[in-house]
């Protein structure tokens, strides 16, 4: 192989993006777990850890830029490196959603949860799992898996709608519940957006492998369109 150094650099970037992905994944699961336990100390720790995610994002972006500058990539290599920029920034935003959940838990103070969390942890579990598989597909350029994952976003959307309806019944039963319902609605919303961003990573995977831009239509897109 003529470009051993380059191949190594690419592999290193792939390894690092998996590490960043794991940090984001864990952050989401921990954020929901802390909320479930109403553990403000753990939530504050998640908020602090988001700084590490942000730092890693810039370090990785810098590494990608150095590889572009020194190796002058073309074709597939160029598509991969350009896509890494997007995937890195998607992960950083997803980390922010997890941090958002942690902030909500801190802001809730001593207030008890409106209801026990059942569907919200399921949404988080599902979204984290989707992210894990989407990133693995990205580094392996597994187009088939990448194209199958966005359909699973429907499951997260269904859970979100379920949470929404359930919270609304609490509000209707007693309007004083509105603030506590609103906290949880924002938590669910953050997870729903988190899962949407997994779809973007999957689209990039197909682009790196084939050079084709193809946007995946998800049911939440249709929902957004309907709202317009």
């Amino acid at each position: 192989m003529l470009r051993k150094t380059f191949e190594n650099e690419i592999q290193q970037l792939k390894d690092e993006i998996i590490v960043l992905g794991s940090m984001v994944e864990q952050s989401l699961l921990d954020a929901v777990e802390s909320l479930k336990k109403r553990d403000a100390v753990a939530s504050k720790k998640i908020i602090e850890q988001d700084m590490a995610i942000n730092d890693k994002r810039f370090t990785l972006e810098n590494q990608v830029m150095i590889v572009i500058a020194t190796q002058q990539p073309m074709a597939h290599d160029l598509r991969l490196l350009a896509s890494l920029f997007e995937v890195i920034s998607e992960l950083e935003r997803m980390g922010d959603y997890a941090k958002g959940i942690a902030i909500i838990n801190v802001r809730m103070g001593n207030e008890a949860l409106l209801k026990p969390l059942i569907d919200i942890p399921r949404m988080a579990q599902k979204s984290a799992d989707m992210l894990h598989r989407a990133l693995t597909a990205f580094v392996n350029e597994d187009v088939e898996t990448a194209r199958a994952i966005p359909a699973e976003d429907d499951e997260v959307d269904l859970l979100y709608n379920q949470v929404y309806r359930e919270l609304m019944t609490y509000v209707m039963a007693d309007p004083r519940n509105i603030e506590r319902a609103n906290w949880l609605l924002w938590v669910a919303h953050n997870i729903e957006r988190f899962a949407d961003r997994v779809t973007n990573i999957c689209e990039r995977t197909a682009f790196v492998a084939t050079g084709e831009y193809k946007e995946t239509e998800t049911s939440s897109d249709e929902l957004d369109d309907a709202k317009k």
Binding site: F6, P73, A75, H76, G211
Partner: protein, 251 residues
């Protein structure tokens, strides 16, 4: 619109070192077409066919046609002098004539019988401006050309071929010996020239190919592997061999 159409072109040298195999390619007018690929791929051979420089080489076998505006330039009836006036060439190493800067530019025209000073002066100014050299030499046109820097000499050679008002300009690794700034100047002048001329370039690197190509043709061992728009070919090549070459995996 194609300025040049190459049909079923096959070329073999007597020593068998380099050949072209059944090349079919259209060269678009008023655009930069880049012929690139590893050494020995046939790109320089093809370039030399386009103004019949191969006539002097040891060609064992040639077949096919090269149509310039619909006329076969490989036909024995073609007047090679007229052809070379229409199809100018710039080589990798600048070859300046032992004259003044002005003398280098007027030489070709004078050989062709042009004696009018005003016409010659016009040609000097026009061609130097087109080659992006005018501002650097306009006050010393009577200095010896050999005193110019390498980058300036190369642009002078480009200007010299432009002085004859060709229709097609062939460039064989014109910036291989130049520093990045001179390279950038030559490339910038090519971007201007393509507005009026058909430019065919054999670049000295894949990066230069990607920077300059409106259209690109990838040659490997005498075969045309892939042809397409530059912006497509360097981001999403269709052939695995092109992909491997542009990403530096062989060559």
């Amino acid at each position: 619109m194609n300025k040049i159409v190459i049909e079923n072109l096959t070329l073999q040298y007597t020593d068998g070192t380099e050949s072209l195999r059944n090349i079919n390619l259209g060269i678009c007018e008023k655009a930069i077409t880049v012929l690139f690929g590893p050494a020995g791929g046939g790109k320089s051979s093809l370039l030399r066919c386009l103004n019949r420089l191969n006539d002097m080489a040891d060609v064992k076998f040639a077949s096919g046609r090269i149509l310039l505006d619909g006329i076969d330039i490989l036909s024995p009836k073609t007047d090679v002098i007229t052809l070379r006036r229409k199809v100018g060439m710039v080589f990798a190493r600048p070859v300046v004539l032992p004259f003044s800067i002005r003398g280098n530019l007027t030489y070709g025209l004078e050989v062709m019988g042009e004696k009018r000073r005003s016409k010659l002066d016009q040609a000097v100014e026009r061609s130097l401006k087109q080659a992006a050299l005018w501002d650097e030499v306009k006050d010393r046109l009577d200095d010896q050309a050999i005193a110019l820097s390498g980058g300036q000499q190369q642009r002078l050679c480009l200007a010299r071929s432009l002085a004859l008002e060709p229709e097609v300009i062939l460039l064989d690794e014109p910036t291989s010996g130049l520093d990045p700034i001179s390279t950038a100047k030559v490339e910038a002048s090519l971007q201007e020239l393509k507005k009026n001329y058909t430019v065919i370039l054999v670049p000295h690197s894949v990066q230069q190919a990607a920077r300059t190509a409106d259209y690109a043709a990838f040659f490997l061992q005498g075969e045309l592997i892939e042809y397409g728009q530059g912006k497509t070919l360097f981001t999403t090549p269709q052939d695995k061999r092109t992909e491997n070459y542009v990403t530096g995996r062989f060559g």
